[in-house]
Subunit: 507 residues, 2 copies
């Protein structure tokens, strides 16, 4: 349960949304807390074990000096390198998997079967390499254990001994992380076991992401990072006396920083996973170092995935080369526009011929003195209007009255895939020659920019206001009132580079 995770999401939210999120989060937290209390008395079976804090490691109050900081920085640098390597490999693997998955469901399922067999072999096979260790004295928890979660798996050892590699592999991921994060357990894991576990998890994490199962990136990266952190902590023992569990936490942070690159949100997530505010300075330091190192190699893993899927993601800032262009330069034509009272046939033809989602509406004489921009009409609204079939034989304004024949929610935004499609609208031959008044469904206050507006400033407007369409209007008079419509695709570097190959696309 991530109470605090909403803090990082609030960036750039409106205050109404913030307030609602806060409200729901508070209710969830209180109710969940109540249910955990109720279940802790054993009324829900195994359900409800655990608490609000996922890995409540309760580390001892740590003090640290310059050598410790040095160790943390080294940990961050190597973590950053491994993190960016992770991104690089995930990218390569994902591209391969995309090709395999495209071949059909058989290949998809085959891929899943191969990966899960491989994972099973690793999980069961590798612990055989592990050595048996006598259980430490003065333990609060049972040791060794069989068939339940917790530290110290017995595996194939004799009585009173445990297999440290099995304690990591044959466990839930959550418990393995908790084991690695636990403090005061410096000698629980052999150096060789940590190395084997790290290599296996790092490798399995990379080849698992992208197959047809619901799996994420967070837990594999934390797991690999925690084992890496413990391993490096062992090696750096001579210069740093920080706890092995703390090293595991910092290692996880360095991997997260190296792959995801979201410093502030990761900081918050790690804080609420561990509930230790005093670790925050070290966590921040390691995140800073690993993000900086990894940024010099490649982009964050989510940026990579967005790019690979071809989603038109607009960066928060305008690219430098946009300062040398104006809005008119990137408008892609041809422009398809409607007049205020348009022939049904023209609308149907435009909807058939283009995939545009917004069309400018232009008032022409005799309904205005000169052609002028009336507004923008959306494809989805056009479809609803056409399906309503309130057409007139003459080119006359019908006014708002026509809207009363529609239900209150007919023009509301439909759920994904639930809106009307062009195939749903059947127009008779004679209706094609009739007219429909677009004014009632036209957005009369579209945001506009002049054609000579700097593209960088147009991009800021587009992004900050979260627009879908931006009308470009002419600067000089006596020309058609709309030059074109800018959409998200027109701001994409690929589009602009296609138009102006001499601009180099530097980040």
């Amino acid at each position: 349960m991530r109470i605090l995770i909403f803090f990082f999401s609030i960036i750039r939210w409106r205050s109404a949304l913030l307030w609602r999120t806060f409200f729901t989060t508070a209710v969830v937290a209180v109710v969940l807390r109540g249910l955990i209390e109720y279940c802790r008395s054993g009324k829900c079976g195994l359900f409800g074990q655990g608490g609000l804090i996922m890995f409540d490691v309760g580390s001892p109050m740590t003090t640290y000096g310059t050598p410790d900081l040095l160790a943390v920085i080294i940990l961050g640098i190597i973590g950053g390198v491994f993190g960016s390597l992770y991104n690089y490999l995930v990218d390569k693997v994902l591209r391969t998997y995309t090709k395999i998955n495209e071949k059909g469901p058989t290949f998809k399922i085959l891929l899943v079967i191969i990966i899960s067999l491989l994972t099973s072999c690793c999980s069961y096979g590798l612990p055989w390499i592990g050595k048996c260790t006598p259980c430490p004295a003065n333990l609060k928890e049972p040791c060794p254990t069989i068939g339940r979660s917790g530290n110290f798996k017995n595996f194939q050892c004799q009585e009173g001994h445990y297999n440290d590699l099995a304690s990591l592999f044959l466990n839930t991921n959550d418990d393995a992380i908790r084991n690695l994060f636990s403090s005061g357990t410096k000698d629980e894991f052999y150096l060789s076991s940590l190395l084997i576990f790290f290599a296996a998890i790092y490798f399995l994490g990379i080849i698992t992401y992208g197959i047809a199962i619901p799996s994420g990136l967070f837990i594999p990266v934390i797991l690999a990072g925690a084992s890496y952190g413990r391993f490096v902590g062992h090696l750096l023992g001579p210069i740093s006396s920080l706890d092995a569990g703390l090293f595991a936490l910092l290692g996880a942070a360095s991997f997260l920083g190296g792959t995801m690159r979201m410093t502030v949100s990761l900081c918050v997530i790690l804080l609420e996973l561990t509930n230790d505010l005093l670790m925050l300075p070290l966590v921040m330091l390691v995140l800073l170092v690993s993000k900086t190192v990894a940024d010099s190699f490649n982009k964050g893993v989510y940026d990579q995935i967005v790019k690979m899927k071809g989603l038109p993601y607009m960066e928060a800032h305008a690219e430098p080369y946009m300062k040398h262009l104006v809005a008119r330069d990137v408008v892609s034509g041809p422009l398809v526009s409607f007049v205020g009272i348009e022939k049904v046939g023209n609308i149907m033809q435009a909807l058939h011929m283009t995939k545009h989602n917004g069309f400018p509406v232009i008032d022409e004489p005799p309904f205005s003195d000169a052609p002028e921009l009336c507004g923008v009409v959306l494809r989805s609204h056009l479809l609803v209007l056409l399906k309503g079939k309130r057409f007139s034989k003459e080119r006359v304004p019908t006014g708002e009255a026509v809207l009363q024949r529609f239900g209150a929610f007919d023009f509301a935004k439909a759920g994904s895939g639930k809106g009307l499609k062009l195939e749903d609208v059947q127009i008779e031959e004679e209706e094609m020659e009739m007219f429909v008044d677009l004014h009632p469904i036209t957005n009369g206050s579209p945001y506009t920019v002049v054609e000579t507006m700097s593209l960088a400033k147009a991009a800021v407007l587009f992004r900050e206001l979260g627009l879908r369409h931006l009308c470009v209007v002419p600067k000089t008079q006596g020309r058609p009132p709309v030059v074109g419509i800018l959409t998200r695709h027109d701001f994409m570097p690929e589009h602009i580079m296609g138009l102006f190959p001499h601009f180099s696309h530097h980040k």
Copy 2:
């Protein structure tokens, strides 16, 4: 030291700024932590006592049921009422103080002397009402104490006794808060002492804010809230068994929520003051309740102060009545504009006659086919250009070359009060008849809206992009290319209500 406070400030920041803030915060946290470690060994005298967590109360793991939640909700409701009353009284007192302070420095100082005398009388006088209590057994800290910070002030009691009221009054505010927040000290304070302390601090807090000393609102409100919380916790003892220190924390949260109304940031601040993530659900709940209750009475204290000072603060959302207006409706005239190459005398006259900070620049024939908007020029840039005195006798374009005669930072934004003033620019009589080309200093890509744009949408544009000037352009052709310029003042409810008295200003 507030490590986490930056989390709440990041709302709406750009990512570059976020990253820099994170970096500096990490460095500060690490360095501060190092210095505290260094000073803890006694090398810095009294300096360096304490830690990163201001009130590390280390409460026992709390469990709570429905009656406890009910108690917390009651606490929040009453806290909300007291919080909004605090706002109301602070507002009244501030208005009175503003009048007194305007009368001159003598009155200012006299006011400070009176308030400080009153505070001293309360701090020393009221503890005499307090009763002497025997020191509890099994204490880790010394009791009673004289002349140092901590709980259990001896004041005028006999050996082995302490005065609970003196422990609150004759202490630093930080220590008093720590005393109130401390857990497992249910019987340390008498109910009557808490009531007296609460009344005194509530009253003193209200009359202290606004006098000519550097004082804030946070600590007085936390102090009053903490004593209120303990008091109510005592009274609610029959239905709730929560710790008295936790009640004090929740009381402080309810007062903060009732006065400041910033739920998320307060949550973060309380979290890092106390370092207890498990309290978060209760803190969120009490903040929610108290903010909701207080919102039904008046606005937050900072909103009140902004309004009282007459600052043109734009709300994040557009007011509902703005949907019924268009941009043209609220433009305040008359418009003062320049032509591209303008007579120096005209510029000087405009700068003298108006206080406008931005002027539209319009290109006219023969420099364009028809009058068209070239851009916006700032008053500060005009002053720099005029002081440079690069004038020409004829109306000819000089181009960018003229800028080379200025230094790189001449047009940079000057620090507050450091920019050129109109008096600094001396123009000879003959120069008044000369011309200056404004194109080099004109912002050629101003954001514009059409005059018929919904005022609500114009307000969103203005606010989201953080504009100072917004050009309103005509919809129909054949008219001057600018209708007017919208500034922040034009969006203020007072301005709009003056123009359209029939719109009522509902929040």
